[in-house]
């Protein structure tokens, strides 16, 4: 019964999504409000039925309905409730349903929240949102049905009969016994049984699916010819929301890799990691260039390309991950959805580009102003966009372009790995950091090198002084010092600009600095949230430079009682606890180690290897032990070895300097994005009453 309800709800969601497309477009073209409203209501019904379908699948996972083949393949009776809930996105079929549900959720939120304020954009926007959603629901219905059930068609043989998978009971078929299904259930991929992995995919999916909304508004603007800045206003906040979740997803993914994959790092330049990073790059470029269109009415065509490019990159990345085009620890198994996915991506991109060129040909995307200065903020933002696009090109080429082209046309299979990315991307990242430091100091319209030089003087001095800390820490690597300087400059500019605004407010109003900071951030959350994001990215940059250039590693086999010295630390192997059985049935081999520095015992580490009996494929997981400080992580992995026993074991030991700044910087970035996303109108309302009593204008440096 449960499977039928979920399956029928999935079909109904598909039908209502299709109806919403037709109704919205037809109603808008014929100017028939009732039909448009009918389309809107159908999109809401698509969300409701998608919620029912997703809820049914989740309920089946929680209540262990093993006859449903998806439940059987991703859970087993030993799994704790938490992982049963998260196994909704633990494999291809469930994750597509979850993805479709998120798409309908974003669509219904955008429709409800923007219906009145952006009424003219909505019919076509609904059509595009529902078209993308219908494609994903269609994938579930045609290729990856999560509601298929196991049946046995008896044939009198010793095995009991032929096992088939179908939603509805085939003629003559019987349901397998619940006990046999439960005993053979596979359980979730061990690599996914980690708290980070439980949150990382939903965050990424929220980011990916969130970009559907700005894409739909852009396409709606192109389709309707309503190319004023309304689509920008409608989509900017949605872009920030999507960007926020995507950033969070990337950070959590890095943390999961660091904790679970057992190689001492957080970013492996794996094609699937890169596939998630590519939309982030283009989305970030869009968030910057969209300001130029808002302020100066420029870059209209370019912004269209960026917003469409972002969603196109989302779909391409998803295609690459789900189709089996690339293999990695992140990708799903090879599947039949590759061709329809590729076709959808291709059509989406071609139609979008065609619409842009059509409207451009009509002169509707003409710029309203010209660049007046090479040092104006808009000119620097264009440079920033060029670098983001160059990074996109370099990473796309390394992840997909070169491997695919070499295989198709040169009859050879190549991998572009960390070597390639470390050769190509650092100069581009350095250029981005430089622009991040300079651009906020320039003004819209007209700016001069003299003005810029004057504004940047104090942040440069502060950056040079900060370098002293690194010199005192013993850093003499010239490349690292240059890198630190560039990154510090971007951070100091963000802090200094905020300080200048606070100081002006304090002088003008006599407020204390904290309330002045609150006021300026309330009045312009986008600007000060943006500075906070820049600060977060600077902190991440310091962590990345430190942990990449100065990582120390060694591998040793130690007998119990032996010690090894590395980077001023001593690691002592105290005890081995083999074959420990946890509540969820995993077997754990645990090494007990003590970290010592300057004769003092700092902490006890328990790196371990988890083995999941009865699980096919990857059935082991490496959980590192780490002693974390702001200075570094002392990170130890217990390696698989024939010698692993009560007597001796092999360890790989890493010292990762400043790595925790990557996570702290990430937190700052997320907080800044939340501030930037807060609706300015709401903040203004809160301060409006106070401003009525004290309507003194604030001198806040360069305008934003």
């Amino acid at each position: 019964m449960l499977a039928e309800v979920g399956y029928i709800a999935l079909w109904l969601a598909f039908i209502f999504a299709i109806y919403a497309i037709g109704s919205s477009v037809f109603g808008e073209m014929r100017h028939q409000e009732k039909i448009v409203l009918s389309g809107r209501n159908a999109s809401i019904l698509a969300f409701i039925f998608m919620s029912i379908s997703t809820g049914v699948l989740e309920y089946a996972l929680i209540t262990e309905q093993y006859q449903i083949s998806y439940v059987w393949s991703v859970t087993n009776p030993q799994m704790p409730m938490f992982y049963r809930v998260t196994s909704l996105w633990g494999s291809q079929a469930g994750s597509i349903v979850f993805w479709s549900w998120l798409m309908t959720l974003f669509s219904v939120l955008a429709t409800v929240l923007n219906w009145r304020s952006h009424r003219r954009l909505m019919p076509y926007a609904i059509a595009y949102m529902m078209a993308a959603t219908a494609f994903f629901i269609g994938l579930s219905l045609a290729f990856e049905n999560p509601f298929a059930r196991w049946w046995i068609i008896p044939d009198g043989s010793a095995t009991g009969g032929e096992v088939v998978s179908a939603v509805f009971q085939p003629a003559g078929a019987e349901a397998p016994s619940a006990a046999s299904l439960a005993s053979s259930a596979k359980g979730l991929n061990p690599l996914l049984r980690h708290f980070g992995m439980a949150i990382h995919p939903p965050m990424l999916y929220l980011g990916f699916t969130g970009f559907l909304i700005p894409f739909a508004y852009a396409m709606s603007a192109l389709a309707s010819g309503e190319l004023s800045t309304n689509w920008i206003k409608a989509s900017r906040r949605w872009t920030l929301v999507a960007w926020l979740f995507l950033s969070l997803g990337l950070l959590l993914g890095g943390r999961w890799a660091y904790d679970v994959l057992g190689w001492g790092g957080y970013w492996g330049w794996d094609p699937v990691e890169n596939a998630a990073f590519l939309p982030w790059l283009i989305g970030t470029a869009f968030l910057h260039s969209v300001m130029i269109q808002e302020k100066r009415g420029m870059l209209k065509t370019w912004n269209m390309f960026l917003v469409i490019g972002t969603f196109s990159a989302v779909i391409f990345g998803s295609f690459a991950t789900r189709s089996g085009l690339v293999e990695s620890v992140h990708s799903f198994a090879r599947s039949e959805i590759g061709f329809p996915f590729f076709l959808f991506w291709f059509l989406l991109t071609i139609i979008s580009v065609g619409l842009i060129m059509w409207r451009r040909g009509q002169g509707l995307l003409r710029d309203e102003h010209r660049f007046t200065s090479m040092f104006s903020r808009e000119a620097l933002f264009v440079l920033n966009n060029i670098i983001f696009v160059a990074l996109f090109v370099a990473i796309f080429w390394g992840s997909f372009g070169a491997p695919i082209i070499s295989e198709l046309f040169m009859d050879t299979n190549i991998t572009l790995g960390t070597d390639y990315f470390m050769m190509v991307t650092p100069p581009l990242f350095a250029a981005l950091y430089i622009l991040m430091g300079v651009a906020p100091l320039s003004a819209w319209g007209v700016s001069s090198i003299r003005r810029l030089g004057k504004s940047i003087l104090i942040p440069v001095v502060l950056s040079i002084l900060s370098l002293g800390i690194f010199l005192l820490m013993g850093v003499t690597h010239i490349g690292a010092l240059i890198g630190y300087f560039i990154v510090l400059l971007a951070g100091w500019v963000a802090l200094y600009e905020t300080y200048r605004s606070v100081r002006s407010r304090v002088r003008a109003h006599g407020e204390n600095p904290l309330s002045a900071l609150w006021r300026i951030a309330s009045r312009n959350p986008r600007r000060y949230g943006g500075y906070m994001i820049h600060l977060g990215i600077s902190v991440i940059g310091i962590g990345v430079i430190g942990s990449t250039l100065f990582q120390v590693e060694t591998q040793r086999t130690l007998a119990v009682g032996d010690s090894v010295e590395i980077g001023g630390y001593v690691l002592r192997y105290d005890q081995f606890d083999g074959g420990q059985i946890s509540a969820d049935g995993r077997l754990m081999d645990i090494a007990n180690l003590t970290v010592i520095r300057d004769g003092q015992e700092l902490s006890t580490l328990r790196p371990r290897r988890d083995f999941f009996p009865g699980t096919e494929g990857m059935n082991t997981m490496t959980i590192a032990g780490a002693h974390s400080t702001l200075e570094n992580d002392f990170y130890v992995i217990l390696l698989p070895s024939q010698e692993m026993s009560a007597q001796s074991a092999t360890f790989r030991i890493y010292i990762n300097p400043l790595i925790n700044l990557v996570w702290w910087g990430g937190l700052i970035l997320i907080l800044g994005t939340i501030i930037a996303t807060v609706p300015q109108e709401v903040m203004s309302t809160q301060t409006r009453r106070r401003l009525q009593h004290a309507p003194v204008p604030v001198a806040a440096g360069t305008g934003d």
């Binding site: 010209r370 007046t372 790995g417």
Partner: protein, 160 residues
């Protein structure tokens, strides 16, 4: 008789010499002289030939453990890092290295993104210069556009 004895003696010497010579040829290299770190520093530059995109030094499959052992043997035999990498590329193809060893593939891989990036940059800079020369465009709004903007303003006002 003496001649026969000499032949027998020579054969005996030869028979005895074979294991001695064989012993010389198959002397196992001193693997303990090669540290795990030395093995990893080569393995780090290689990718698992079986599982895509996983560096050989961290891959945990049995096959990769065997390949790491092979690297240890090759290092003990005195092969240089580059010789070991070349050997793996010969046997498994260019996919086992992070950047191709073949000069054409290597150049193509490394230069192409820069060429594309430079083209993008040149395009961007040309656009900036052309925008600088171009006078401000007064956008002629047709009635429909003006009407739509007014319509939006009205709707926003109504929405409060």
């Amino acid at each position: 008789m003496r001649k026969t004895l000499l032949i027998v003696l020579l054969i005996l010497v030869a028979v005895l010499a074979v294991p001695v010579m064989a012993q010389v040829d198959t002397t196992a290299p001193d693997l303990s002289a090669i540290s795990d770190d030395e093995v990893n520093s080569v393995a780090k530059q290689l990718y698992c030939p079986v599982c895509e995109n996983i560096p050989l030094d961290v891959c945990e499959t049995a096959a990769c453990q065997d390949w790491r052992y092979e690297i240890r043997l090759q290092l003990a035999d005195g092969l240089s890092e580059q010789a070991i990498i070349d050997d793996f590329v010969d046997r498994f193809g260019e996919r086992v290295v992070g950047t191709p060893q073949d000069p054409t593939l290597r150049n193509l891989s490394l230069i192409t993104p820069w060429v594309i990036a430079l083209l993008v940059a040149a395009g961007g800079l040309l656009a900036i210069f052309s925008w600088r020369r171009r006078p401000d465009v007064v956008v002629e709004e047709d009635d429909q556009t003006q009407c739509s903007e007014l319509h939006d303003i009205l709707e926003r006002d109504l929405a409060g």
